[in-house]
Amino acid sequence: MPNDLLRLSGLTKAYPGVVANDDVSFDIREGEIHALLGENGAGKSTLVKMIYGLVTPDKGTMALHGAPYAPSEPSDARKAGVAMVFQHFSLFNALDVAENVALGMENPPPRRDLARRIRDVSETYGLPLDPARIVGTLSAGERQRVEIIRCLLQNPRLLIMDEPTSVLTPQEVEILFETLRKLKSEGTAILYISHKLEEIRTLCDHATVLRLGKKVATCTPSETTARAMAEMMIGASFAAPAPKTKTPGDVLLRVDSLTMPAPAAFGTPLRDISFELRAGEVLGVGGVAGNGQDELLQSLSGERPPPRGTIWVKGVDVSRDGPVARRAAGFLSAPEERLGHAAAPDMSLTENAVLTAGLREGLVRNGLINWRHADAFAQGVIDRFDVRTPGTHVAARALSGGNLQKFVIGREVAQNPDILVVNQPTWGVDAAAAAAIRQALLDLATEGTAILVISQDLDELMQIADRFGALNEGRLSELKPVGQLTMEEIGLMMGGAHDMEVAHVAD
């Protein structure tokens, strides 16, 4: 029977207006992979921040190896052998790999030794990495390796991983799992946070489920179904999107050899992208983050107009048109990053509605805004998409992520577009809201809208798309019908393991 490594008893942390963690207790044993499950807002992040010393608990105690453990800052945690790989990477783009690693260590060795040790560890664990590369030029998978290696160099007893696979291709996920299993066999415990249930079933020994800050269940993932775990997380069952039955109509959107230079130093150029999108069709575009998704959306929305002759809507060249003209032509888009890109954070929901729907919905006449109509339109979106908010006067930033996302997608859907482009429609949204958004997109397609969904969530794309393609370094792969795809094929389309040929886990 392995010993307990870390014991949490009665951890409680409250913020003004919300109890993030309420009396959470569980144990992590040596050499086990322990899953922490829960929806967004269930309190997973706060819990691991307490373990890592970024947040001090209001109540409750922790014990590491039986001794009291109360880190007051992350360096205490690192000294005690607790390391963390962050969800939104804690990396510095303009610095190189070795500098990034040094910043995460307590007593980094001189630069030359550090570079050698980075190479050693990266070979041992099958995570190839060049210490001199600038982090801003690395792929998402490589960045994660920087984080992992930074942790491994300190020989941690407990490694916390916050949603590590959300940015990886299936092949990269396999490599990561090999690394984690090797670490486990060496006696390192891993606290693995995720809401990808199948992953947890294949990888983890135990799971603790949080809901609204409370521990609601524990289970052995390999003996439980993904559906049962999902219901533990949500506390209720939820509807899967209805299956699609339709035949595509006319070509509404044609993209013809779209090529554009990178917008900024760390951006991605678009290379020779061509596809056709038909009425009633949902095209899913996957790919690892940073392979041209944002750039593709910008050129389709009109934020960065591409060269003439590349984008055709219903046979008309709209390439040089700006967003307003494209909207007028029925070509709508909803970018990712709801705060700051899709919505103006400090403006009310009504004002945000006017910003994109003003023209199509007749909310603006002769340069004057008809606030009554605007309010009614915003209220309509709120009612139809079940946006939980006190009213239309509320500032966008006051809404939770899922609710705001429902609003910004709903705002476009409600305008009955001919073509709709969405980027990451359910990113950071809880399962119930995500299901609602997907259903809204499917309903829209049934009514004859051509929809392009850019997403990093493969499950989502498989669920709603008719055809699938992947972006890899700004190139779009061949488009294939979703029904005939295997995970293997998808991985290869996403660029798979081509940059990992050297990767192998040493025995």
Partner: protein, 310 residues
Amino acid sequence: MDLSNINPILLIASIMISATPILLAALGEMVVEKSGVLNLGVEGMMISGAVIGFIVAINTGAPLLGFATAAVAGAVLSLSFGILTQVLLSNQVATGLGLTLLGLGLSSLLGKPYEGMKAETLPKLDIPVLGDLPVVGRMLFSHDIMVYLSLALVVAVWAFLKYTRAGLILRAVGESHDSAHALGYKVVRVRLLAIMFGGACAGLGGAYLSLVRVPQWTEGMTAGAGWIALAIVVFASWRAGRVLIGAYLFGGITVLQLNLQAAGLTWGVQYLSMSPYLITILVLVFISSNRSRSNHDAPATLGRTFHATR
């Protein structure tokens, strides 16, 4: 016009004197900006350093003490900016402009009784062997200690940022304060220290104007030197070596145009007077536009307010 009046040895020597105040101020501001803070109060800190250094030097007769007090005064003044922007989260641009206005007003108030006086200046160093070399000795090796201190500071700042852990942390804070905070670094503390260093450097630069270059106190004597220092930092792409080039270029053209005027060039005096500003900016724009893009990117969080949330 008689160009033979211009002595190249004296010209180079006076270029070094003329460039030193801007070099000091720009170097300090570069460190501040590397930590992600935009302090537009350089002009105000410089002129405060100038007046306080001058007052202390006159009353004690010790110019070095004047410099030390000017550095402390600059640091204290910048600390007020630091507390306002880093602790109370005020807007950096507005606060920096306020600091400049405060410095200009405060200095003219404090300096009123001292107008027209003459303080003791710094002695020229008597460097053995090097100072006795023909031509080069007069040109490069017979200056006061602050000139050499400013050059040493260029090397020190460069080495600090490139080779030391503290320098790495400072750059990391300027690159992504959220990441630095997540790793447990004290973002606000690092920035306050950088701001104070910048203030001290600006104070030294100002004192060099009133104690060596001019050397007396006149109201508004910095005449935009602080703004030039700010511009130099940007066009030098936040690199110590290029800050040196920029400052010496500006100092050089300033001195050259003065010499040309003294030599009897009567044509377009206004154009000559504006030439240092124009040429410095043009040259540095040319340098920074000619490199690959990632090389001269500003610190990613420059001017952004940091507030540690959950």
